[in-house]
């Protein structure tokens, strides 16, 4: 084309060492290069891990650790499949639905009340709830739960899970690796970008999950997390040894955490107006049925419906009384959101129960909508009682 392109100085300088070296030397060089590269990689990696063991740097929990609990519960659920007279309920949700031992909440009370009223020969509630488990994770694991054939599914929907903070910071896109291939078209139509899941990451996760490399994957992620802890530990230790003022990282982290939670001081902790707005803003102003996140909820319910498993979605109580005090409560907007959620759930074959205003302010022990428990008033018991009629109706239909 006569474009006047000339190689750059660097290009023309690429002398062919290959031509000046004997073939034997050239081959030997490449061989030794490869060997030393592999050896150095192995030695340095091993040295890093050994150094962290020696200090010692603790092994943190990582997001994929929850797979262990998931696998165990799925195994238990599948083992009891087909037992006559047994009602098996799968409960999905976040920490508000979690039976943590400290607060034996909804699951416990629901089971007691069901046993008192219905007396089935056996009843088990399999609690798949996990801290920060949100809309996408429920979608990712829906088919595996359906495979274990529960009699029906309860989904506790925390309104905070619609917030950007939750979807961008707390989601576990790696769970997509365990999704059935037949569901991939459905997943691709959902707003995966909201949790940073791109098509290439999805393919990688699918390969890692299906290729028998799960344990290695978790090990690498854990060691990487340890390396991060080592950095902070070194920073803090150096600061402690050399100075008397507090370490920036520690104070900054605490400050950032405080800012992100935006919690008002004094027990019990409550969100500030800014905090509540950032977590519930979209919900309070009214969500449309076309909201991308509602589509994720709809797809989850649809998965159970297609497999013939009745599903009840209930909105986990939120601190409406506190919103009112903050001047944030918009009954119209909230009603619109509830209508949208109801529309999506019922359109996908599920049942809907709105418990968002079921508890007073005193029913919450913290800013994260976790319930109080005690001798005088047990919020979990109250929620279970409100769930009971719907659950009983679904069990009778079974």
């Amino acid at each position: 084309m006569g474009l006047g392109y000339r190689p750059t100085a660097l290009e023309s300088d690429l002398s062919t060492d290959r031509q000046t070296q004997s073939t034997v030397v050239w081959i030997l060089r490449r061989f030794l290069f490869a060997i030393s590269c592999i050896l150095a990689f192995a030695l340095v990696t091993s040295a890093i891990v050994r150094a962290m063991d020696a200090v010692p740097i603790p092994r943190p929990r990582i997001a994929l650790d929850q797979l262990e609990k998931l696998e165990r519960l799925l195994g238990n659920l599948a083992d009891t499949s087909g037992e006559p007279g047994t009602a098996r309920i799968a409960l999905l949700g976040d920490s508000t639905m979690l039976d943590s031992g400290r607060s034996r909440q909804v699951q416990f009370f629901l089971k007691i009340q069901l046993l008192q009223r219905m007396a089935p020969s056996a009843l088990e509630i399999y609690n798949f709830a996990y801290p920060w488990r949100g809309l996408f994770e429920n979608f990712f694991i829906a088919d595996r739960i359906a495979d274990a054939k529960p009699d029906f599914v309860l989904i506790g929907l925390n309104l905070a899970s619609f917030s950007t903070y939750w979807t961008t910071r707390q989601s576990v896109p790696q769970f997509s690796g365990w999704i059935a291939p037949t569901r991939l078209p459905q997943l691709l139509a959902l707003p995966m970008h909201q949790i940073g899941l791109t098509a290439d990451r999805l393919l990688l996760y699918l390969a890692l999950a299906s290729g028998g490399t799960k344990d290695l994957w978790i090990r690498v992620l854990t060691e990487q997390a340890r390396a991060g802890i080592a950095y902070w530990s070194l920073s803090t230790e150096l600061k402690r040894l050399t100075q008397d003022s507090p370490d920036l990282i520690v104070t900054k982290q605490a400050a950032a955490m405080e800012a992100s939670r935006a919690i008002l001081p004094g027990p019990p902790a409550r969100r500030s107006r800014i905090g509540a707005e950032s977590v519930y803003g979209g919900v309070l102003s009214g969500m449309e049925p076309s909201d991308p996140l509602l589509r994720v909820l709809g797809a989850t319910v649809d998965e159970f419906h297609r497999r013939g498993i009745p599903t009840l979605v209930f909105v986990v109580p939120a601190n409406v009384e506190h919103w009112t005090k903050l001047g944030l409560h918009d009954a119209t907007g909230l009603e619109k959101t509830m209508d949208s959620v109801r529309e999506i759930v019922t359109a996908n074959g599920g049942r809907f129960l709105d418990l968002h205003a079921a508890l007073p302010d005193s029913g919450f022990r913290d800013a994260g909508s976790h319930f109080v428990e005690g001798r005088d008033f047990d919020a979990g018991q109250l929620v279970a009682r409100k769930l009971l009629p719907e659950v009983m109706a679904m069990l009778r239909e079974q």
């Binding site: 030794l32 990689f41 890093i48 801290p131 098509a199 990451r201 920036l248």
Partner: protein, 468 residues
């Protein structure tokens, strides 16, 4: 797909493997297919946008070449390309800015419509515009096939974050199909490894956590912390961006192509003018050739020159992102450049590398640049002003210096100097490592960088469940 991800490593290995087994024609097809696959793996729907953007621009490019009124088609191309860019990148920003005016005056705000930002749209828009303008000025002939044009625009090593390629640089190479050689492969591997190290070990692991902590809550940081945080971010953004560019150049080398140098140790510059000749060089040259010069450059008097400089940098700032902080950052650089020109400071000769005697000028320039990065990085203008105020008013009590991070910053300074030494003595280093022992040393160094990069890759990632 990020260059520093496992999935990209697999993708690249497959592409390089196939590339070395195909004919020239086949290689072109492979590169185009892999470039489109690379793009579609991010957000499949936007591949249609990319293809449409390229198709329309190619039609306009051919019209510019053939029409007796090429200016009309050039203007159409510019309007179309900037229209796409404005829609997908700036619509929400402009709506917000309009709302600031219309809300108090008319009680009305324009609706906020926000799209997912298409990958690399700023870079490819500049590349599309540059080629259209060059063809209009008959500096280069347009690609004869749409496939070649599409490969020029979407060539995956430089699609996301540059370097911004000119037609005269890349098209002839694409025409030749790239030239593979063992030395180019060796250089490619090293650029890839160095870039990976810069990005994952330095930028993400060592620098970003502290910079994020400082800029996250500027009001809580003491002066020494704020100062070190500023240094950390200055080096973070450098190692992040230059690391990415190194990787892009390395990948291109593995495929037989050369991409231009985009960074030349910018923090060793002696003036703001020199800084912009060493920082994101391809962007600076693009802005100079397609914006500053058409605005009149320095040919229309002193005042107009200063105004042109300011406008160029203002738009350059906006190019970096749709936000007031970028606009302010660009504007401040424009003012600095104009001010520097106004007081008539002598420009260092371009061909003379800086030495020790330039240390005061280097320190002054570096601190000016680092200070302006605060406006680039801080989430709000108020936050930026708080940080600047803290840095200037102190107090700098001895007990508040973060020891580890000061050490890391000093390491970064040393590495910047080392980069210059490496660049100036590249040929001697290359030759000294040419033998068998050199192979062992190179292999060990490469293995070490890779091991450190893998260990450092988890920090800041979403996998870590620290909060529980």
């Amino acid at each position: 797909m990020l260059f520093n991800s496992l999935q990209f490593a697999i993708f690249l290995a497959v592409v390089v493997f196939l590339d070395r087994r195909l004919s020239r024609r086949g290689r072109s097809g492979l590169l185009l297919a892999s470039s489109l696959l690379f793009y579609s793996l991010w957000y499949p729907a936007y591949t249609i946008l990319l293809l449409a953007n390229m198709a329309v621009n190619y039609a306009l490019l051919r019209a510019i070449e053939r029409s007796p009124r090429p200016r009309v088609w050039l203007v159409s191309s510019i309007v179309f390309t900037l229209g796409v860019l404005a829609t997908f990148k700036y619509l929400a920003f402009f709506s917000g800015a309009l709302g600031l005016l219309s809300e108090p005056l008319l009680g009305w705000s324009p609706p906020m419509v926000e799209f997912i930002l298409p990958l690399g749209i700023s870079f490819l828009s500049f590349q599309l515009l540059g080629l259209a303008i060059d063809v209009y000025h008959r500096k280069i002939a347009p690609p004869q096939t749409f496939g070649r044009y599409a490969l020029f625009v979407s060539f995956f090593p430089q699609l996301i974050a540059g370097p911004i390629m000119r037609g005269r640089e890349l098209l002839p190479q694409l025409e030749r199909g790239g030239t593979l050689s063992p030395e180019r492969t060796r250089r490619g591997v090293w650029l890839l490894a160095i870039g990976l190290g810069k990005k994952t070990i330095l930028a993400d692991f060592l620098l970003a956590p502290y910079a994020n902590a400082v800029f996250g809550t500027p009001e809580a940081a003491l002066a020494p912390m704020q100062l070190v945080g500023m240094y950390c971010f200055a080096f973070q953004i450098y190692f992040d961006f230059s690391g990415y560019t190194d990787m892009a150049r390395g990948i291109a080398c593995l495929l037989g192509f050369e991409l231009p140098l985009n960074f030349k140790e910018p923090y060793l510059s002696r003036s703001p003018v020199e800084f912009w000749r060493r920082w994101h060089i391809t962007l600076s040259e693009w802005l100079r050739d397609y914006l500053y010069v058409p605005l009149g450059g320095n040919r229309r008097g002193r005042e107009r020159t200063h105004l042109n400089l300011f406008l160029t940098m203002l738009l350059g700032g906006l190019w970096h992102g749709a936000g007031w902080n970028f606009l302010i950052w660009g504007g401040m650089h424009g003012l600095w450049l104009a001010g520097h020109r106004l007081i008539g400071r002598p420009r260092p000769r371009g061909d003379r590398e800086p030495g020790l005697r330039d240390l005061p000028a280097i320190l002054l320039t570096f601190h000016g640049v680092a200070l302006l990065w605060i406006f680039f990085r801080a989430p709000t203008f108020a936050g930026a002003m708080t940080a600047v105020e803290t840095i200037f008013t102190g107090p700098y009590n001895a007990g508040a210096w973060p020891v580890l991070q000061v050490g890391i910053v000093l390491l970064c300074v040393a590495l910047q100097i080392l980069e210059r030494v490496g660049r100036l003595h590249f040929e001697a280093i290359r030759r000294s490592l040419g033998g068998v022992l050199g192979g062992v040393i190179e292999g060990a160094a490469l293995g070490t960088i890779l091991a450190l990069a893998v260990a450092a890759s988890g920090v800041g990632g979403e996998f870590i469940y620290f909060q529980f």
